[in-house]
């Protein structure tokens, strides 16, 4: 029984990690390619002091990118990457919900303004983040179970 269960956790860990990594890669690359558009989206959220808008637009996509890469190519760093991504997802969800409550006219900017943002209406973005957070927790739990 033990090896079979271990295999199941392994499959769960890898599939959940690959899914989360793919979403983060798709989100980060357009923002890295076009920091001006992302800076504008960050500004539009109206949550940060002006002085922090561009530094966040410069570094945040790289954090997403490196965390996504670490998740796939560096399994020993997986838990740190998952924890970091979980923290980012929670922060993004909070930011989106604050703006939703405020009624701010904004596209979430989550995928750097590419068509991926329009597949689902923007009000579903916090729900999508929470689903992703759930998948991330599955990866974390699977990683813990395999020990």
């Amino acid at each position: 029984m033990r090896p079979r269960s271990s295999t199941l956790w392994l499959v769960l860990e890898w599939s959940a990690s690959l899914l989360v990594a793919a979403v983060f890669l798709l989100a980060s690359v357009p923002k890295i390619m076009n920091p001006a558009a992302f800076a504008s989206a960050v500004y539009q959220m109206n949550l940060l002091p002006g002085v922090l808008v561009n530094p966040v637009a410069i570094y945040l996509p790289w954090i997403e990118f490196v965390a996504a890469c670490a998740l796939v190519i560096a399994p020993p760093a997986r838990r740190g990457a998952l924890a970091l991504m979980g923290f980012l997802l929670a922060a993004f969800t909070l930011a989106l919900m604050v703006n939703f409550v405020r009624g701010t006219a904004m596209s979430c900017g989550c995928f750097g303004g590419t068509f991926l943002e329009t597949i689902l209406p923007s009000w579903t973005a916090p729900i999508r983040n929470l689903v992703l957070l759930g998948i991330l927790c599955i990866a974390l739990e699977a990683s813990r179970q395999r020990e």
């Binding site: 410069i58 790289w62 490196v66 670490a70 740190g80 990457a81 303004g113």
Partner: protein, 172 residues
């Protein structure tokens, strides 16, 4: 009798695991900061480290109390209808592609265009104004002009034509 530990053995065993996760967490941050800085220094065209966004069209529109609409809201308005869509870009840009049903109303020649379209511009007529994107000023200038002329229901589509096209939405 088994030995008694002040800290449960299970917690002692799991501590390195947390340290390892914390080290990975910090390592990813450091590497990302390094790559971000490198990209910022090596890129031929990039954004400044610090920028005054308060003079952007978006900030000015917000300060002027113009109603801002997102891509989703603009899409719904265009699909539902009942709103007059005004393209504030130049005529060549308009001819190259515009939102479905949009009317060309170049901000540069807004006086002439207003004269031509006066019959359509009743105060209660909902208007959706746009230009090329978040950084262009034309739609905001046109919205302010139309408000001065008495239009009461002006919506500014902040993301503009660029976002509309990137989203794969239909154009004419």
């Amino acid at each position: 009798m088994p030995p008694q530990f002040a800290i449960p053995l299970s917690r002692v065993e799991s501590t390195p695991r947390y340290w390892s996760a914390a080290a990975s967490f910090a390592g990813i941050l450091v590497l990302a900061l390094f790559l971000g800085t490198l990209a910022q220094l090596l890129r031929p065209v990039t954004i400044p480290w610090i920028e005054d966004h308060s003079q952007s069209p978006l900030a000015k529109a917000r300060a002027a109390g113009i109603d801002l609409v997102s891509l989703d809201q603009a899409k719904e308005m265009v699909l539902v209808g009942g709103v007059l869509v005004l393209d504030a870009r130049s005529l060549p840009d308009f001819d190259a592609g515009h939102l479905p049903g949009a009317v060309s109303f170049p901000n540069a020649t807004r006086g002439e265009s207003y004269y031509e379209l006066a019959a359509l511009l009743q105060p209660q007529q909902p208007l959706l104004v746009y230009c090329s994107g978040k950084t262009c000023d034309d739609a905001l200038q046109l919205a302010l002009f139309l408000r001065e002329q008495g239009s009461l229901k002006i919506h500014l589509f902040v993301d503009g034509f660029q976002a509309w096209r990137q989203a794969g939405l239909p154009t004419e």
